[in-house]
């Protein structure tokens, strides 16, 4: 009886797998010119909306470039649910075994991923990084934010908003182990040292999910009512409505990222300025760079490509919203 039950499971499983599986890659004869390419995107976690935007950017790029170059480009998304460097290494190894042509990865821990990236490159796979770099690895390119400059920028803009006089500034942080977060914090702290009237409280680390970050910010603000400015080098807290109820102008906020969920904050004046990370571009540009390297055999102009951080404030918040509607068709 048990045997029969097991057999039934297997049949059910195979039916399920068949139903959901896509087409397996075709075995091509002796390669003349490859018609099909697969690029993989490995982000840090599934919970942060910035990476979901990157995913869509990558999918769109794959579609656009397929049309433009006359080949079939497939984008495979493999991201751990939570920040887990070990799982990223596993995914990278499996992508390589799958025979992907290129990988773009945002590293949870640079040092853990460096040997895996090197091994992948050794086996002929093109690897680049986005958002969070592995600088000592053999990756051929990086596309992302200049984190140090970004940290400085945020702090500088916040000080401008706060104006003269003594101020206390809160500094939230995300995943402590992520290199990009650490770099931004270093930039912000470095900038803050130039202003003797500014006291910094933090950095306060939390999980890079909206709920955890928002809870952390609220907690710190309640415990430290003298904080009158937040230098959000990562604005996960603003992906929720939690802080919308703050009285606009009482506490000045300048933040990184301008995802659609954050735009109401600007409209209501709770947040003064947003500096938009090009999260959509992370995905789009990654595929472009990989396509250049693998299909067109063209190396990128510079290894480190920094994306600009355009300002979003009350004056152009509506335009930004329109842009998002174009990029993320609902």
């Amino acid at each position: 009886m048990k045997h029969r039950m097991q057999l039934l499971t297997v049949i059910a499983l195979s039916a399920g797998l068949l139903a959901v599986s896509g087409q397996g890659p075709s075995t091509s004869p002796a390669p003349v010119k490859k018609q099909q390419y697969t690029f993989a995107l490995i982000a840090k976690n599934q919970g942060n909306p910035v990476f979901q935007a990157a995913r869509i950017g990558a999918e769109n790029a794959a579609r656009d470039l397929s049309r433009k170059l006359g080949v079939s480009i497939k984008m495979q998304w493999q991201t751990p649910n939570e920040d887990d460097a070990q799982k990223q290494v596993d995914f990278l190894e499996q992508m390589v075994l799958q025979g992907v042509d290129g990988v773009s990865i945002s590293c949870v821990i640079a040092d853990t991923l460096t040997p895996a990236i090197d091994r992948a490159v050794q086996q002929g796979v093109a690897v680049m990084c986005f958002d969070s770099d592995a600088p000592h690895s053999k990756r051929f390119a990086f596309f992302g934010t200049d984190d140090f400059a970004a940290g400085q920028l945020i702090m500088r803009e916040l000080v401008k908003e706060l104006g003269p006089g003594k101020h206390v500034v809160g500094l939230p942080g995300g995943n402590q182990n992520a290199a990009n977060i650490q770099t931004r914090i270093r930039g912000a702290l470095g900038e803050a040292r130039k202003y003797p009237d500014i006291t910094i409280k933090g950095p306060y680390y939390s999980k890079e999910t909206p709920q955890d970050a928002a809870a952390k910010v609220e907690e710190v603000q309640t415990a430290n009512p003298d904080i009158d400015g937040w230098a959000m080098i990562g604005s996960w807290a603003l992906f929720t409505d939690a802080l919308l109820k703050w009285e606009p102008g009482r506490v000045k906020i300048v933040a990184m990222d301008a995802l659609p969920a954050e735009l109401p904050y600007v409209r209501q004046g709770v947040v003064a300025r947003l500096f938009a990370q090009q999260t959509y571009q992370w995905g789009y540009r990654s595929i472009e760079i990989l396509a250049d390297k693998v299909i067109l055999k063209k190396d990128p102009a510079t290894v480190m490509e920094y994306s600009p951080l355009p300002l979003v404030d009350k004056s152009n918040v509506d335009q930004t919203e329109q842009d998002w509607k174009k990029w993320l068709p609902q």
């Binding site: 297997v10 896509g22 397996g24 390669p31």
Partner: protein
Amino acid sequence: MPTELAAEPGIGKRQATARRFRRGMKETGLLGVVVALGLLLSVFGGSIQVRDRGTGETHTLNKFLRAENLDKLAKNTSFFAIMAVGATLVIITGGIDLSVGSIYCLAAVCGAMFLHRFGPQGAAAGSPAGWVVPAAILLCLGVGTLCGMLNGLGVVLLRVHPFVITLGTMAIFRGVAFVMTKAQAFTHFPTQFTDGLIRYQVGRNLYPVPMGIMIAVTLLAALYLRFTVTGRQIFAIGGNEQAARYSGLPVECVKLKVYAFSGLMAGVAALIMLGYYGAASSDAGKGYELDVIAAAVVGGASLLGGRGSALGALLGALIIQMINNGIIILEIDQNYSQIIIGAVIVVAVVLDRINTVARQRRLAQAAQPAPKTSERTTT
């Protein structure tokens, strides 16, 4: 005098062998699932063209069956299988250990900090003495066992349900790891430990050490459960703890042992992680406890206690990893992976439940005496 199933105990030998085979049947079912899944994946996974860098030839290799993929599969399974073996012993006694992921993390972090110190970039850099690697191994295993013993003491002394205790220690151990590492990741270990031991390479990109450790651990645990006193006591306590107590079994002692063992297994898995990935941080192993318990349950351990097997734990972990592997090979959208794995776990548990109920019904029918007999009961 009315007689029930009249048979001399001598006949028992044939029945005994039959029963032992039937017991093995449980794992035979799992083995069948593994084989079936393997067939499925090799048939539907397709093949891949691989260019041999050395000779320049291209080979066509089956995506699933290629040696490197199987090797990776075994390596990925090893973490969960080893911890699942530890968890199975705990589950057999009717308890549960939710803190395995955190013990894994803490053991890894302790080992990492130690190895980093003696690694190429550490404070005591330079060619490390011969005692460093064994010391690191002992440290990792020791931390794991100690954490496990703390869990055991909590369960035994505080008389709180293991779910609650290990829920608390889950947070405590990870918190300790976080404080110790000051949120940094530790890497750059002595190569004697990584490439020389755990990541020892055989042939082309094959790393058999994690798989070897997994098989050895499973074998030892299976023998322990079957042939030792404590193994028998573990099953008795899980089957009916009160009866075990009244039979004079040292219930508290045994529980302490199983929790310590579960911690030890987490330490072993942490060792493999350190050796293979060469880095550890306080993020390690987040959420692993649920994967481990899922593997144990799919492998036939009953959360009510009294049933389970080490081999089953390994096969359960293997099945779950094969599904993960299959999702990638078949290029199924990763968003569905959680749904699929969750469904598999539920199906496995439901089937197991159906089987248990059917077995109990068979037992009850066999226990019915002849209808003319009237027994006395107190009502």
